[in-house]
Symmetry: C2
Subunit: 161 residues, 2 copies
DNA sequence: CGCAATTCAATTGCGCACAATCTAATTACG
DNA sequence: CGTAATTAGATTGTGCGCAATTGAATTGCG
């Protein structure tokens, strides 16, 4: 029985549909898994990602966070205000470049990192795979994202030409 | 040099964070890839998924579509109204069970399927992999989703016990 | 210096996601 | 039969995600 790859450049609508549902479902399953774990911390999933970015490097401008997460100011501005209201971050204009708003962790925000370790542990269980498998999955997702992003821009990110 | 899997049940916050960003980024990259392709059809990505479900099987109740996509009525009700306003679907109460609203394709909605084939082709190129690779990716995503969903419920979906 | 182009952030508007609540219809049970 | 429990769908409120616009600050260039 052959695998009849009769359209190498075309997934076919059936498979395309299945891939659609798969990535869509996986992403939502991920956020749904996180939600109950993050609730005790008072964070949503996107807010958690912002906090991770700040735990990795404190005192970043909005733009840098946006680049890291692939979000624009339309999403980040209100999100950061909520984090500020929660007392986790501070927002202050950069003295040298008044266009920029630098986001920094408050004491409370920095302390939250300890609790986040527990979240990571729970996710490890939920994903139900070894570190090696998690690494492999991470790399595949990154590769998928890069292929999609590359196809989308198709200009600036050319490999060598 | 060993791979020191010192916490087999714990991804570690570093890897957890990376996996977070990876799945988040991949999902968004996917929808961003679809967006310009679906715009000519007048569909958003979630609307496209609903249309796929209806192309596969016409005349479904809202509940069935929700189960297929993992969405509730809070999301689907307004979305379906927009599809109705676009003239792609019709909503009518089931005679036998007046609680149900059955969604069916209009002529226009059914005809749109032909154009969707072109979208699938473009995605095939964007994903930049063979049918076999796409199948593998799909299966991994489905497996990931199931592991996450299983961990979340931890009760009803037990494998055998 | 002076003005145009650029950059950063905020705001607005629309469309998901999802929890919580509500109404109406159906089913189950005594 | 009648009431309780269940089910389907809609509605409300909060929080993303993103395009488009706005406004302020900075940079570039003559």
């Amino acid at each position: 029985m052959q695998k009849k790859p009769r359209d190498p450049d075309n997934l076919g609508i059936k498979l395309d549909a299945q891939l659609c549902f798969a990535i869509y479902g996986a992403a939502h399953a991920f956020t749904r898994t996180y939600k109950p774990l993050l609730e005790p911390l008072g964070l949503t999933y996107p807010q958690y990602l912002v906090m991770i970015a700040l735990w990795e490097e404190d005192d970043q401008p909005v733009k840098a966070i946006g680049d890291r997460l692939g979000l624009d100011s339309g999403t980040l501005s209100p999100l950061l205000k909520r984090l500020e209201q929660s007392g986790l971050v501070a927002r202050k204009r950069d003295r040298d470049d008044e266009r920029q708003v630098r986001i920094s962790l408050t004491k409370k925000g920095a302390e939250l990192k300890a609790q986040a370790a527990g979240v990571a542990g729970a996710i490890g269980k939920a994903v139900g795979c070894s570190v090696e498998e998690a690494v492999a999955l991470r790399d595949e997702l990154i590769a998928l994202k890069q292929r999609l992003t590359k196809a989308g821009s198709e200009k600036e990110t050319l490999p060598s030409a």
